[in-house]
Amino acid sequence: MAETVSVNVRNTNSTMWAWLAGLVGWAVPGIGHLMQGRVHRGLLLGGAVWVMFISGILLGGQLYGILSSGAGVLSYVFGFLNLGTGLLYVLCQTLGIATENLSMLATSEYGNIFLMVAGLLNYLLALDAFDIGAGRKL
């Protein structure tokens, strides 16, 4: 009986830890791995997302608002993809960074793709951090 309770408590803690790692990993790219002691993995994966996000901004990309419809229905999809970068997205939206359409730049479309893929990759990182926290991945 005591053993069953102990296993249940351990499972609950493990599940909460996994959710926390996933959420923190989504909020700040790479942190979900770092908080679990996966330093190399966190630096490599988080670094890749950060470089892609910053490159996207430098290339003239635009971050779409999740509730704006400037480019039609697709804006909502773009906004969801951009939202994947977590607090980076919120911070940039708050400070007005990369919120304007810079289509006069030859590389602005590349920038848009970089920003969206950075979000997608960070969703993947958050799921990876969750899996590690839940013990599904070594």
Binding site: R41, L44, L45, A48, V49, V51, M52, S55, L59, A106, T107, Y110, I113, F114, V117, L121, L124, L125, D128, L138
Partner: protein
Amino acid sequence: MTHFLVLLLFAALVGIVFGVVGRDTARSRTLYGVKIFLEFVGVGVGLAWLLYWIPI
């Protein structure tokens, strides 16, 4: 040339993430990451070459 460098950067970053997340050992990660990188660059250059001959 700038466009090609952007393609290289994109392929390298995606290759790193897919390689690390998608495989378990260091060797298989490296091989998978390089494979993803080469596929992105190859398909990108191939499509660019193809579109060059198609009048718009």
